[in-house]
């Protein structure tokens, strides 16, 4: 009787609390979405709409001129392709390499495990800006331990190729790889050990235990890691600033478009509108990938039970 009463009153309380939560979350969601919507809506605004204080969100004279101008004055499709090659391949490599490293650390005991863990933390802590100059020179005059130089061969110029980023990604040294390794380690630890042991009894080798038992349990988190890497590489300014100064990328497109406007080639000064338009246009693939992958992102979190 008493227990029933308590549960009943809790139920009522819960309802009220839920209502308050929903209202609060809705308000915060508005704060989050508002800039995105205003970004998208101002793509279709003509100059008069932007300057008109009575126009809010819905343009009075909707126009596609901004989009046309970006395509006309910037290399939109080239930037799109380059950014895709840069972000997609690197994200795939990062996901694979961080998964391997995380499995190695979480499932085995080996000499130097602590050292490797500390080194991974080091790569997370050292801000990449610290390595700006050395990174540039390293890949401008690329050389394996001075082998080329000693043989009298010229060093390789890897500037404006995607190879430096691919190499860093394949070796789990890319963008925020340390964080991904930590997340994946927690995930592998959450997979019940009994599964691996049962597989072992049944005669599965190390590789097979990894491939058929542990990897399927981690798939959702791997998708999340891929999504985060892809998104962060897509909008990245640092690595493309070091390696791809002469290649048309997301950042180059935005800069180009704004510079053309500042020079006044088109006869007005609203460079912000063009930068915004270019940004929104470049974000379209990202939005598509997010819509496709967000279910996995949420599911991955639900299944993972990452416990520190």
């Amino acid at each position: 009787m008493k227990i029933e009463y308590i549960l009943k009153s809790n139920k009522f309380k819960n309802r009220v609390l839920s209502a308050v939560c929903v209202i609060f979350l809705a308000a915060l969601s508005f704060i989050i979405i508002y800039p995105l919507i205003s970004k998208v809506s101002s793509v279709f605004m003509s100059q008069s709409d932007i300057l008109d204080p009575t126009v809010w969100m819905i343009p009075k004279n909707p126009t596609l001129d901004n989009i046309k101008n970006v395509i006309k004055y910037g290399d939109f499709f080239g930037s799109l392709l380059n950014t895709f090659l840069f972000a997609f391949v690197s994200a795939v490599l990062q996901t694979l390499s961080t998964t391997l490293v995380a499995y190695g650390i979480s499932h085995f005991n080996f000499k130097g495990k602590t050292l490797v863990t500390i080194l991974i933390l080091l790569t997370l802590i050292v801000p990449p800006q610290v390595l700006f100059g050395p990174m540039y020179t390293k890949f401008r005059f690329f050389d394996f331990f001075g082998i080329f130089r000693n043989l009298g061969l010229p060093t390789l110029n890897l500037q404006d190729t995607f190879l430096p980023m691919y190499m860093l990604s394949a070796t789990a040294l890319g963008l925020k790889c340390g964080l991904f390794i930590l997340i994946l380690i927690q995930q592998f630890r959450a997979v019940p050990k009994e599964l691996s042991e049962a597989a072992k009894v049944d005669g599965a080798g190390v590789i097979r235990t990894f491939w058929q038992i542990n990897l399927p349990q981690t798939r959702a988190v791997m998708v999340s890691v891929f999504l985060l890497s892809f998104a962060w590489l897509w909008t990245d300014t640092f690595y493309s600033g070091v390696f791809l100064r002469g290649t048309n990328m997301f950042m180059t497109l935005v800069n180009d478009v704004s510079i053309i406007y500042e020079i006044g080639a088109i006869g007005n000064s609203l460079s912000g509108i063009m930068m915004n338009t270019a940004t929104v246009m470049m974000m379209i693939p990202l939005i598509i990938v997010y819509l496709l992958g967000q279910r996995a992102l949420i599911q991955g979190i639900q299944n993972s039970g990452i416990v520190g």
């Binding site: 989050i32 391997l100 801000p127 700006f132 390293k138 985060l228 990245d236 300014t237």
Partner: protein
Amino acid sequence: MQFRLEIIESEAILMKKENKSKLKKNEDRFAYLFIAPFVVGFIILYADLIFSSISYSFSELTFQGKTFVSNFVGLKNYKEVLQVNAEFMPALAEALENMLTMVPVVLIFSLFIATLLNRKIPGRTIFRSIFFIPVILMTGIVTKTDSNLLVQSVVSSANELGESVGTSSGLNLTDISAALQGMSIGTGAIDFIITFIDNIYSVVNNSGVQIILLLASLQSISPSVYEAAAIEGATAWESFWKITLPMVAPVVFVCAIYTVIDLLSASTNNIMILIEDTTENTGYGVASAMAWIFFTIIAIILGIVVLIGRKAAFKQ
């Protein structure tokens, strides 16, 4: 008879153990196969980068023809940064002050949001996908060409045209602070609330990964624990402090570390902007010295966070 059987059994167990440990050792060799990408990359690519960055900070670099020429100058760059440079210390102080206020705000906010998103409320999936938008979409260059840039360009061009456009950026903070002063709370609290409201967008943007991590750990707490507590008569408030917080404390600790790193190495950070400017203007040697001084400070702060946080997080 029984005695002999026991011996045989124990021998069998021993053999099995030996076998197992041998097997385990054999297996552990495979670990090197898995960590090989990182180790090879670290040796070939990364270690070299760190060493040359450190050596740059002790030398003067000049760009002659095609290559860098570096002269060892000892501690000169460090002395210049710490004693001569007028911008470094203020930028450092501001970055640290910003970090000190933001870390608690971000942690409390993301724990709060994660708790809300963990409740069984209508539209939970939609809210979750909205709260992950900043992590995916509002990063890097997108934040650099943010809507305020649009507003700025509009305002400047409006000034050029001789028109006046009111600042259209949302909340009027003087009104809010006046209202709060009317409520007679301490000025410290008012300042805190005002900074929070003023920075709400950056707080939301900086909390994405933390919300994901905390939500995951909240979901790993079995609901039966809460049911038991509720039957014992614990209120939601009590069960938050007695159950939720101790259970997620390790993850809060991880989040604290991540937040410190994230805030201090963000490219919008004063220090990072200063380092980039110095690279372009004064030279790479001085910029490297700045970067490594800053790195040492980050490492010390993280050390303190780890020392304090470990005790608090793993108390029970």
